[in-house]
């Protein structure tokens, strides 16, 4: 699918042919993308896909090896100081001092960035109420729940009013309810004008939060686009079927005009259809019955981000012998 690259004025992050290797292992293998001012942009990929390496180059913690990378208009290699002043970061692991208080964590950050005292105090008050930690101001961070720690880290990332906030796996290890509340905070921050770059291996997170997603796997960007665009590439609906003769069924069904693609699964196959699945399904069953094939199991669903992800990162079945790779199974490490 063609991706509309925003022009440079709009792009707050621009990356071209970025490569990064550890020894002989190419963690990031020539990626190009850009992030528009004001959007929420996600890197979606399994653990080890290269998301964190890419983010670490952008936030200047890793020296860039090859390619071009600009953040907030500054080259990450030539002007790392300017980049650092322009961004906020929430790291993948919790990076708080257990024995400092909530206030001290934010005060330390403000001092680290040379914020004047009055501005620091004002900003801390604002942020503590934004992330609803006002009552925890003098609590040591070890006494906070996982969600509160994350909120504190987001507040810290926002202390200096960054142009871009980087969130590396912001909801990892949080329970589902807390995760959804985190999404609200992230959306709230974005609504106030901060561009957000986030990495995640949670499909629903990328789907719910992002304006645009790049699916990344084995160091490469597989596809980029808006969540609905990505889902639409799989067709309007997905029909999963098991029959008593899958091979013949496949041959018959691939000629139907409404079927855009077919993926085989261990026991059956998935039809990706262009039209309303509820209308296509009777036609499919009719076609099969005429050939004497009996449908054993049928399931109709809308394509989800999981399906998109597995479709683009799982080995494409056109290249692999039928039945070897489960298309709609969840990837190891993906959940």
């Amino acid at each position: 699918m063609p991706e509309q690259f925003p022009n440079n004025d709009q792009a707050i992050i621009r990356v071209e042919n970025l490569e990064h290797s550890y020894g002989t292992f190419n963690a990031v293998d020539g990626i190009s993308f850009s992030v528009k001012r004001g959007e929420i942009f996600s890197f979606l990929g399994p653990n080890g896909a290269g998301k964190s390496t890419a983010i670490n180059v952008l936030i200047t913690l890793l020296a860039k090896q090859k390619g071009e990378a600009y953040v907030a208009g500054y080259d990450v290699t030539r002007e790392p100081q300017k980049v650092r002043e322009s961004i906020g970061i929430v790291f993948q692991d919790i990076t708080l001092d257990r024995d400092m208080t909530v206030w001290e964590i934010l005060e330390f950050h403000g001092r680290l960035y040379n914020m004047p005292r009055e501005e620091r105090q004002k900003r801390i008050d604002e942020l503590l109420s934004l992330v609803q930690l006002d009552t925890k101001r003098d609590e040591r961070t070890k006494n906070l729940s996982g969600g509160m720690k994350r909120r504190l880290e987001i507040a810290r990332g926002l202390m200096t009013r960054p142009k871009v906030l980087f969130l590396d796996e912001p909801t990892i290890g949080l329970d589902p309810q807390t995760r959804m509340r985190m999404w609200d905070y992230i959306k709230g921050v974005n609504n106030e004008g901060t561009t957000i770059f986030l990495t995640t291996h949670y499909m629903d997170e990328a789907d719910q939060l992002s304006d645009r997603i790049s699916i990344i796997d084995q160091g490469k960007i597989i596809i980029s686009g808006k969540p609905w665009e990505l889902k639409n590439t799989l067709g309007r609906d997905l029909i999963y079927m098991e029959t008593n003769d899958n091979e013949s069924a496949l041959r018959l069904l691939k000629d139907l005009s409404s079927v855009r693609d077919i993926k085989t699964k261990p026991k059956g196959f998935v039809l990706m259809v262009n039209e309303d699945g509820t209308k296509v399904l009777p036609v499919v069953i009719d076609t099969l019955r005429k050939a004497g094939i009996e449908a054993l199991t049928i399931n109709l669903k809308k394509p989800s981000m999981d399906d998109v992800f597995v479709f683009y990162t799982g080995k494409d079945l056109r290249d692999v012998p039928a039945g070897k790779t489960p298309v709609l199974a969840k990837q190891a490490g993906g959940r």
Binding site: L61, I89, M100, N114
Partner: protein, 278 residues
């Protein structure tokens, strides 16, 4: 002038006063050394050296007074070598990523850690001096008020320069290591030879030639020489040995400490430039 190191200093001092057990033990430990080891050793040494005739006109100091200077130095050495451990904790579980990703120059981390370590060593040194005097060490004996002030200032100046050198070394080790256990191992390995090839507990003249050479180039010996000069005087007898310090010896000792601290800062600077924490 960028003041980033004050941020690092502020934060490290928060930790220092917050861990009450650590605070109390770090203040109590040198006093205990002086109380038990000092009194036990001095009753022995003083008995052994009692037969040596007193040279008229030169003050003879007790062993407790003699080794009190060594205890100040030992405490400073331990505190400084462990001073970098916060860096290791920050690297593994704490704020190091935040700090390295900030616009602050990395030298400020080294300087901030250095200054907070010096502060801790000052507090400890003063506790040892006060406690030592309480249990009978003859620090500043016969000094005028002005001489006492100069004496204390001189001791602290020596302690500061020595502490900085070992704090920088500790920071360099800490930023390069993966585990606190590793740091502990290296530090233990370093402290033993540094402590025992110094003049902390005994005169170095009687040491075998090889150890004596080590002792002469040991920053700890330079520090203790400085402390004794400022706490006892330039001319005294201790453990049967006549000590005479000329100003040039003191100045050379201090320059030695400055050179050592500068080299260690260079080492730490190099390790911090290389540091990648992701």
């Amino acid at each position: 002038m960028p003041m980033g190191f004050t941020t690092i200093y502020w934060r490290d001092m928060i930790r220092f006063v917050r861990f009450k057990t650590l605070l109390v033990s770090s203040l109590l430990q040198p006093a205990l050394w002086l109380a038990f080891f000092g009194i036990a050793m001095s009753s022995n040494f003083d008995a052994l050296t009692a037969g040596i005739p007193v040279t008229p006109g030169i003050q003879t100091v007790s062993y407790l007074t003699f080794m009190g200077a060594g205890i100040i130095a030992m405490t400073t050495l331990f505190t400084s070598l462990f001073g970098g451990i916060v860096i290791l904790f920050d690297k593994n579980w704490g704020l190091m990523r935040e700090i390295l990703a900030s616009p602050m120059n990395r030298n400020h981390i080294i300087i901030g850690i250095g200054l907070s370590g010096v502060t801790k060593s000052f507090i400890q040194a003063i506790i040892i001096i006060v406690f030592g005097i309480l249990i009978g060490a003859a620090f500043f004996a016969g000094f005028t008020a002005v001489e006492i002030i100069i004496g204390i200032a001189g001791i602290l100046a020596f302690v500061a320069m020595f502490a900085l050198g070992f704090l920088f070394l500790s920071a360099a080790i800490a930023i390069s290591m993966e585990s606190p256990e590793g740091l502990q191992g290296v530090v233990t390995l370093l402290t033993l030879p540094i402590f025992f090839t110094s003049n902390a507990l005994y005169p170095i003249d009687a040491l075998p030639e090889f150890l004596k050479t080590l002792a002469l180039y040991n920053p700890m010996t330079w520090l203790i020489t400085g402390i004794r000069y400022f706490a006892i005087g330039s001319d005294f007898i201790a453990v049967g040995k006549h000590y005479q310090y000329t100003p040039s010896v003191i100045i050379i000792s201090y320059i030695g400490l400055m050179v050592f601290a500068t080299l260690m800062f260079g080492l730490a600077w190099w390790r911090f430039q290389k540091a990648v924490v992701t």
